[in-house]
Symmetry: C2
Subunit: 474 residues, 2 copies
C-alpha cells in the first residue's frame, strides 16, 4: 500500500523528494531561513557516513583537527580568487560581547585560509611534511534557493587539507582522495558517480584544478558528489607557507583539499528512493534489518528476539519493533525509513515452519524455512540488495545519458528528458555560457581519458578540445 504522505515520484519529483525527507523523518525546516534540523534518522545516516570515511581517511594516514569557525576578513582577503569566489555567499559576524567588532569575522564557508594560517607556523623543513589533516565540521554559505540536504545555508561536511614537499605528491593525494570518494559512492552508497575534471569556470575558487565525482539523480538532474582540489603553490604563496627542501632551499608547499557533505543524504534519497519512501543501500543503512513479530504469541516474540540477538552478534545491525502499533503500521514505517530487510514472523509462520523476508528495494517477499542459516542467508541477501541497487542506479544513469552533436540536440534532450549529456567542447567559456541558457545546463566534468565524439564543439562547431559531460544541477 502506497504511503499517503508521499507524492508520487512520477507526478512531482520535487514534492516527492521533500515528502520523503519529511516522512522518513530525516530533516525538517527550522525557524532559521535556509537552515534545517537534521533529525535522528537523518543524523544516523550521517554518523554512518562519518564512520566509513573517517576509518578510510585514517588508514591513509590522515589525522583529525579542528580549526576556528570564524575567519577574520583580513585573513580571508589574502587569496584573491578565494575571496572573489566566496565573498557573495558568506555571513559576517560584526558584533560580539555587546560590542561592535573592529574587524568583521566571517563564518567559514571552507577553511583553506585557516589551515594555511596554521601551517605557516608549523612547517619548517621537508621533514615536517606531508601534513595530512581533516576536519569534520559545519560550514555556512548564504544560498538564495535552498533545499533540505542538497543545498542549505549551513551544512555538515569533512574537509581534508594536506600539504606536501613536492608537486607530484600533492597531485597523487588529489587523485587518491578522488578514488576514495569513488569507492564511497560505488561500494557504500551504491551510486555510480563519474570522475572528471571541472572546467576553469566551474573549478573551486583558488584551485589550480578541481577533480569531481558527478552523480545522476533518478530524475536526470546532476549532483556534485565530492571534489578534490589541487592548489599547487597558490595558497602557500599568498599565506607564506614555506619549508626548507632537501636541497636546503626555501620552497612553498604544495597543497590539496577535498570534501564531501551531508548533501549525499539527499543523493541517497534521489537515486534510490521510491513512492514508498527511502531505500537505503545495506552498506550505509544505520539499521540493516528490522524484525517485526506479528501478534503477541510468546513463542513468536521469543524467536524474534533470538533472531535479533544472533544478527547483532554477527555484525548485522538489526532491531526489533515491539511497540504497540499494528503490524501494517510497522511495515509501512520500516518501509518509509528504508530499512533494507524486514523479517516478519507470525504464529501461522511458526506452524508452517517458515519465516518471511521482505526486500525493501524490490519489495519482494521471500518465504524461507525456519531452519535456514539465518546469518549467512541474511548477509548474502544484504549483499545481493547492495549489488542490485548499484546495478539499477547504473542502468538508470545509462538510460539517461545522451550524446549531443550540436546545440539543437542539446536543447531537445534537456527539454525532453534531462540527463547526462556527452558532447565535445572547444574549451571556450563563451560556449559554456551559451549552453547555460538552456535550462541552466552546466559542464559537469571533462573526461580527460575519453576520446572526442566527433571533434566539433557542440556549441560553436569549431575544433573541440574536450569530451565533456553536461547537465542540469542541484
Amino acid at each position: 500500500m502506497k504511503n499517503e504522505k508521499i507524492t508520487s515520484r512520477e507526478v512531482d519529483f520535487a514534492k516527492w523528494y521533500t515528502d520523503v525527507v519529511k516522512a522518513a523523518r530525516l530533516a525538517d525546516y527550522s525557524s532559521v531561513k535556509g537552515c534545517i534540523v537534521i533529525e535522528p534518522n537523518g543524523y544516523a545516516i550521517w554518523e554512518k557516513m562519518q564512520e566509513v570515511l573517517d576509518k578510510k581517511f585514517k588508514e591513509l594516514g590522515h589525522v583529525n583537527v579542528q580549526m576556528p569557525l570564524l575567519i577574520p576578513e583580513s585573513l580571508l582577503k589574502k587569496e584573491s580568487d578565494l575571496v572573489e569566489g566566496f565573498a557573495p555567499e558568506v555571513a559576517w559576524v560584526t558584533e560580539g560581547g555587546s560590542k561592535k567588532l573592529e574587524e568583521r569575522l566571517c563564518i567559514r564557508p571552507t577553511s583553506e585560509t585557516m589551515f594555511c594560517d596554521y601551517y605557516k607556523d608549523h612547517v619548517n623543513s621537508y621533514r615536517d611534511l606531508p601534513k595530512l589533516y581533516n576536519q569534520w565540521c559545519n560550514v555556512l554559505r548564504w544560498e538564495k534557493e535552498t533545499r533540505p540536504f542538497l543545498r542549505s545555508r549551513e551544512f555538515l561536511w569533512q574537509e581534508g587539507h594536506t600539504i606536501h614537499a613536492t608537486k607530484e605528491e600533492a597531485i597523487e593525494e588529489t587523485d587518491r582522495m578522488m578514488e576514495v570518494y569513488k569507492w564511497f559512492h560505488h561500494d557504500i552508497l551504491a551510486i555510480p558517480s563519474i570522475t572528471g575534471k571541472k572546467t576553469e569556470k566551474e573549478k573551486f575558487s583558488g584551485a589550480v584544478y578541481t577533480l569531481t565525482n558527478e552523480a545522476l539523480m533518478y530524475n536526470g538532474v546532476a549532483l556534485q558528489a565530492g571534489t578534490s582540489h589541487y592548489f599547487g603553490q597558490k595558497f602557500s604563496e599568498a599565506y607564506d607557507v614555506k619549508f626548507l627542501n632537501k636541497e636546503n632551499k626555501q620552497e612553498y608547499v604544495y597543497q590539496t583539499s577535498w570534501g564531501t557533505t551531508t548533501r549525499m543524504i539527499g543523493g541517497l534519497i534521489m537515486v534510490h528512493g521510491d513512492d514508498y519512501g527511502l531505500v537505503l543501500p545495506p552498506n550505509i543503512a544505520p539499521k540493516q534489518v528490522v524484525i517485526i513479530p506479528i501478534g503477541n504469541d510468546e513463542e513468536v516474540i521469543s524467536l524474534a528476539k533470538s533472531y535479533n540477538e544472533i544478527l547483532n552478534k554477527n555484525n548485522i545491525t538489526s532491531y526489533i519493533d515491539l511497540t504497540e502499533k499494528s503490524p501494517g503500521f510497522k511495515f509501512a514505517e520500516a518501509e518509509v525509513n528504508g530499512i533494507p530487510i524486514r523479517i516478519e514472523i507470525g504464529k501461522r509462520d511458526l506452524e508452517n515452519n517458515q519465516v518471511t523476508f521482505v526486500r525493501r528495494d524490490t519489495r519482494e517477499k521471500i518465504i524461507q524455512a525456519l531452519d535456514i542459516e539465518l546469518v549467512s542467508y541474511t548477509k548474502e541477501l544484504l549483499n545481493t540488495i547492495q549489488k542490485d541497487m548499484y546495478q539499477r542506479a547504473l542502468d538508470r544513469r545509462n538510460s539517461l545519458t545522451f550524446e549531443a552533436h550540436n546545440l539543437k540536440d542539446m536543447e531537445n534532450i534537456l527539454n525532453t528528458q534531462p540527463g547526462f549529456v556527452r558532447a565535445d567542447w572547444c574549451g571556450d567559456e563563451a560556449c559554456e555560457l551559451k549552453i547555460k541558457e538552456i535550462k541552466g545546463c552546466k559542464s559537469r566534468c571533462i573526461l580527460e581519458n575519453e576520446p572526442l565524439i566527433d571533434g566539433k564543439c557542440v556549441c560553436c562547431g569549431k575544433d573541440a578540445k574536450h569530451h565533456v559531460i553536461w547537465g542540469i544541477q542541484y
Copy 2:
C-alpha cells in the same frame, strides 16, 4: 631529563599549563582572538571522549540530531532568563550574502531555544514522549579572558536535550545524566569530581535548578566539569511546547539539558600532568602503549613489531615508533604526549632475555622477562595506572579540601593555598557576593545530603541552611 620547553609546575602553574598544551601539541592559538586550533593530539583525546560518552548516551536511549548554528534574535528573546544570562556573551551575524539582515542571528551559545522551537511542532501526545536528544557541535561565547580548552570563545561540546511527560521522569533524567558524568570523570578520566547543586546565583540561566560535577585542579583551583539542568516547564511555557497527557488534557512538557565540553582536556592536563608533560589515564588515552625499539637490530625491530601487533589485536591501542629520531628523543616525546606505557626493547635486553616497561604516571622502569604474558601483563599494568592515577588525584583533592567556620578562616585558606573550602551558608546571595570579594571565590555546589558543619553561615554567622563547597574557579 626534564622537558626544557616546560616551565616547572611549582614555579608558575599558569605558564606550566600553556607550555604543556603547546609541547604535547594539543592546541595552539589562532589568528582569531580567543579561539584555538585543536591539533591532532588534542583532537584524538576529544574523539575518545566522544566515543566513550556517545556509546553511553545511546545505551540509555538517546539519539543524535543537529540543530542550526544560528538563532534568530526574536526566538532567543522568548525566554527572558536565558536571554538575560547569555546576551552579554553572544556573537551576532548581521550581514549575509552581501546584505544587511532584517533580523540579527546569534551564533548558538547553547541550543535550548532551537530544541524548543523544534519540539513544539513534533510533540502531540504523551505517546510522543520522552524525546531523548543529544548533539555534538560547536558553540560560541564571547569570553573576555580566554585560556586554551578551559575557556575559549568557541568550544566543542555535547548538549543533551530531553522532554518528558512527567516531572518525576525529567528529574530522574537530570539525576541519571549527572551519574553518567560522574562515571565518566571517575572511571574514564580518573578525576574525582564532587556532585552537588548550584546555588540560585550560579545556576544556568532559565533552569529551575542545576546539578554540577566539580573537579579540583592540582593547584587547588576548581573546574566545573559537567552540568545537568532541570527546567521544569519554564521553557515549554515560553515556547509553547504542549502535549495531550493520559488524562486527555493539554500540558506543558518537562525538560532537561546536560553538557560537557572540550574543557575536560584542560582538566586532564591540570589534574594529572607533571613537569615532563601530559599524563593520560589509560581509559582516555588514544594510544595506551608506545613501543620503542633501540637501534636497528633486525631481531629487535621484528620483536617490537610483533608486540605491537599482538597488543592491537587484543584491544590495547599501541603504536611503534620507527622514525629516525634518537631513542632519547622518542622517550621524551612519548613522555610529553602522556602515553601511559612505554615499552623499550634493545639488543642488550634481548641478550638478557628481558624487556623494559616504563609507566608514564610514576616514570618507574619495570624490567620483565621476555617470555612474560604480554597481553595480560599490559592490561593489568594499565588498570593499575588508571587506579593509581585516580587515587593520587583523590589524595591531592583531599589534601586541598579545607573547612571554614568564618570569613577569617576563608580568607586565610584562599590566601595561603586555595582548594575546596567546605563551609555552611545561610542561603543569602549577599553572603555569596561578600565571599566573592576574596579572590573571586564562588560557591561551587550545595551538598544537599551532607549535614551542616556547625550550623552557622561562614559569612554572616546567622543560621545556616546549606553545607556548601566554595572555591576559586577557572
